[in-house]
């Protein structure tokens, strides 16, 4: 097992638009302190901000977990529901079920999940309606 350089958990509340983005800002700051290259840093930051906003906009609350080893940054998002009924549609650019509040802030354009997938080196999503959604993204460091 690879040595863990950093492990952090960030609870994210549903519909808390004021704090949305704070976890991602902290994740970016911590990775920068670890000396992660600017290319990887930006990709993690974008994916993390998108996934954090997804928790705020769509979930009933959840948490982000950050884990860093010398080889990889891993970002995991777990929520308490409601789950995604059609993952294929959700992954399609432009498809969105976001609220007017989210849209008025500049989100809900249906770019979140595709953006995460584009920026991460590995992307896995698992969702069960009534239970919740887990997204795991990996970003290679070496």
């Amino acid at each position: 097992m690879s040595q863990t350089l950093l492990h952090a958990e960030y609870p994210v509340e549903a519909e808390d638009y004021t704090c949305a983005g704070e976890a991602s800002a902290d994740i970016k700051r911590k990775l920068k302190q670890l000396g992660v290259s600017s290319n990887v840093l930006r990709r993690v930051a974008v994916a993390s901000y998108e996934v954090e906003l997804n928790l705020v906009i769509h979930s009933e609350g959840g948490a982000l977990t950050l884990e860093v080893t010398p080889e990889q940054v891993t970002l995991i998002s777990r929520d308490r529901g409601p789950g995604i009924p059609n993952l294929e549609l959700a992954m399609r650019e432009g498809w969105s079920t976001a609220s007017e509040t989210a849209r008025s802030l500049g989100f809900g354009a249906g770019m979140g999940l595709p953006n995460m997938k584009r920026n991460a080196d590995t992307f896995a999503i698992d969702s069960t309606v009534g239970e919740g959604t887990t997204i795991e993204m990996g970003f290679r460091l070496a």
Binding site: T18, A25, S38, L105, A109, M111, P114, R118
Partner: protein, 124 residues
């Protein structure tokens, strides 16, 4: 082009970051959709937008952007400007609409962010 050149071209007023006007900019992006900005933008880009909320700054922070232009004379709240200054951004407001602001910058030589679609997502 420098940010100072943009201020002249856009007849803009600088709201914060006066000391950083000599920063060079390479490309521009105009959008009110922060997810689009997050998808395609790189750090040397200027963002022209009509949105003045904190998420514009957070988006800029995630991407290490250097400059934000608010179109149609919009001025964000003091708290937003303070945060922008902490982030090292130059923020300006132009009386022009977003469309005209883009046109003026394009005419002055600034170009859009090149978009490279992965083959699997090729458009048209």
């Amino acid at each position: 082009m420098t940010i100072a050149d943009m201020v002249r071209v856009l007849h803009a007023k600088v709201l914060c970051g006066e000391e950083r006007l000599e920063t060079k900019v390479h490309t521009a992006c105009c959008s009110d959709l922060m997810s689009d900005v997050l998808a395609f933008v790189n750090e040397k880009t200027v963002l022209i937008t009509g949105l003045t909320n904190a998420h514009v700054l957070r988006t800029a922070d995630m991407l290490d952007l250097k400059c934000i232009v608010f179109a149609r004379g919009k001025i964000p709240g003091e708290d937003i400007l303070e945060q922008a200054d902490e982030q090292g951004l130059v923020v300006m407001t132009t009386p022009e609409t977003a469309f005209t602001a883009c046109g003026l910058l394009y005419e002055a030589g600034l170009r859009g962010v090149p978009i490279e679609w992965p083959e699997s997502e090729a458009r048209l």
